[in-house]
Amino acid sequence: MKRRKFLTIILAFLGSVTSASFAYSLLKFLTATPATGVNSKKIVLHRNEVPYGGAKNIIYGDTPVMVINRPEKGFIAFVRTCTHLGCLIEFSKSSQKIICPCHAGTYDLDGSVESGPPPKPLTAIPIKIEGDTIIIG
């Protein structure tokens, strides 16, 4: 192999490694979401705050969250962002369903899509029940 070609290959290799490592760090930097999750402290609610067969809307970190007291199934919490186009979902007490007011997407109380355009289920938030308290997060 000639000296010139050898040097070209070495330079191309080093340049590619440098560019790739820089591109990787840039991609990681751009896709970070430090605001959500990082600053989310646990939220404690009393059982009475969420009535049987009812729901309560809270803000967890920077995220709107809905806590539902499901008949016979217990408590569950979801991010209130509709998986269709991001509108805030509402709890319908009369039909015991979760409804998106924007495009009539409907979810059941487990967060699964029942009808309408949402492409995937709602995002659940972990909760823990300790005596009379509900710990969210």
Binding site: S25, L26, K28, F29, L30, T31, A32, P34, V38
Partner: protein
């Protein structure tokens, strides 16, 4: 593929003619004097440094919150929680100091080689203004992290104009947006840093490059005499038919220095990551507690120390203004044809004295 794109553009916009005529003939084929050295690349390195600052600054804007309640936290999050946030902030902070260093070196070497002399008076003046704008970039950015260091060093710097009678207090008031450093000051400095100064710098850089292009490059006075025609009666672009072509000879020098710039930057980031982050930089701003040792950034220390040394504040600031005006307009005052500083003992003596005074004041202020 590349030829197809070139052809597509050429049949629509005649781009080949532009590339051939303007770039090839005017820039790539331009002959550089044979005795140029690596110091001739410092202007180019300043442009590279500015591009790095703009790029990393735009990235930091994604997570920085310019509000007194959130600024410090958001910067700490960039350093500790955002992946590789530390890298881009270090690049921005180290880069800002390196950019000022490179610009200062550029000015000093241009001075030493007498390349400011006519017909390049305006080129020097615009370059000097760019240095002032770059320093303003530095200290306006200093406040943005809203740390103890930011808060109190900005307090010190914005107090400097108050030494000037009658208008001093008004200048300080305008800078701060009140009597003290507050959220208003942060908004003002943020606007200055990301909106006003970049536009100013780009304008000055554009004028500077245009002037260099029109006058042609000035050769060094070392080894071979390089005098301009005197008296100056008509416009001629300085040309060197027996010089080296810009590409690849001088371009290679520029690339070499660009790599050296990156090497210095990453050497500091790797081995001295806290060089520009003293302990006060990691404490949130507290308007009710002044740290024991607070100083402005290194490039303002000499000016700060001069003000402290001269008992009369007015004389202190008037002297600094006088020196700044003298520095900017020096090419209009120095009308001697001799470019080589080695052959001008008085000017050389004054230059060495001023440089030594600056270095002494800098180290005195830091200890």
């Amino acid at each position: 593929m590349w030829n197809k794109i070139k052809s597509w553009l050429d049949v629509r916009y005649g781009t080949n003619a532009i590339i051939q005529k303007q770039i090839q003939e005017q820039i790539l084929d331009y002959r550089i004097p044979k005795n140029t050295n690596i110091f001739y690349t410092l202007g180019f390195i300043t442009v590279i440094a500015f591009c790095i600052q703009a790029f990393t600054g735009i990235l930091l804007l994604l997570y920085y919150i310019p509000h007194p309640d959130h600024a410090f936290r958001s910067v700490q999050d960039i350093m500790t929680k955002v992946p590789y946030g530390w890298l881009f902030r270090e690049m921005h902070t180290v880069g800002s100091n390196l950019m000022i260093t490179v610009l200062l070196l550029h000015m000093v070497t241009v001075f030493l080689m007498g390349n400011y002399k006519r017909p390049r008076e305006l080129t020097w003046l615009v370059g000097g203004l760019a240095l002032i704008v770059t320093m303003t970039f530095g200290y306006s950015g200093h406040l943005l992290p809203w740390s103890q260091l930011s808060y109190w060093s900005t307090t010190v710097v914005t107090s400097m104009p108050t030494a000037f009678p009658i208008v001093g207090d008004t200048i300080a008031h305008i800078l701060r947006g009140g009597d003290h450093i507050t959220g208003t000051t942060l908004s003002r400095f943020f606007e200055l840093h990301i909106a006003i100064l970049p536009l100013l710098f780009l304008t000055l850089m554009g004028i500077h490059l245009f002037l260099i292009y029109r006058t042609g490059i000035s050769a060094t006075p070392f080894g071979k005499q390089d005098t301009e025609s005197r008296p100056l009666t008509e416009y001629t672009r300085k040309a060197y038919p027996d010089g080296y072509p810009y590409y690849p000879d001088f371009f290679r020098k520029q690339m070499y220095m660009t790599m050296a710039y990156f090497a210095v930057m990453f050497f500091i980031i790797t081995f001295f990551p806290a060089l520009f982050f003293p302990p006060e930089a990691n404490i949130a701003a507290d308007p009710f507690k002044t740290p024991h040792e607070i100083r402005p950034a290194w490039y303002l220390i000499a000016q700060y120390e001069t003000l402290r040394l001269i008992p009369n504040k007015f004389i202190g600031i008037a002297l600094q203004l006088f020196l700044a005006v003298l520095f900017l307009f020096w090419p209009f005052l120095d009308t001697q044809a001799e470019k080589n500083l080695m052959k001008r003992p008085v000017l050389r003596g004054v230059f060495v004295f001023l440089l030594a005074a600056w270095v002494v004041l800098l180290f005195w202020g830091r200890t």
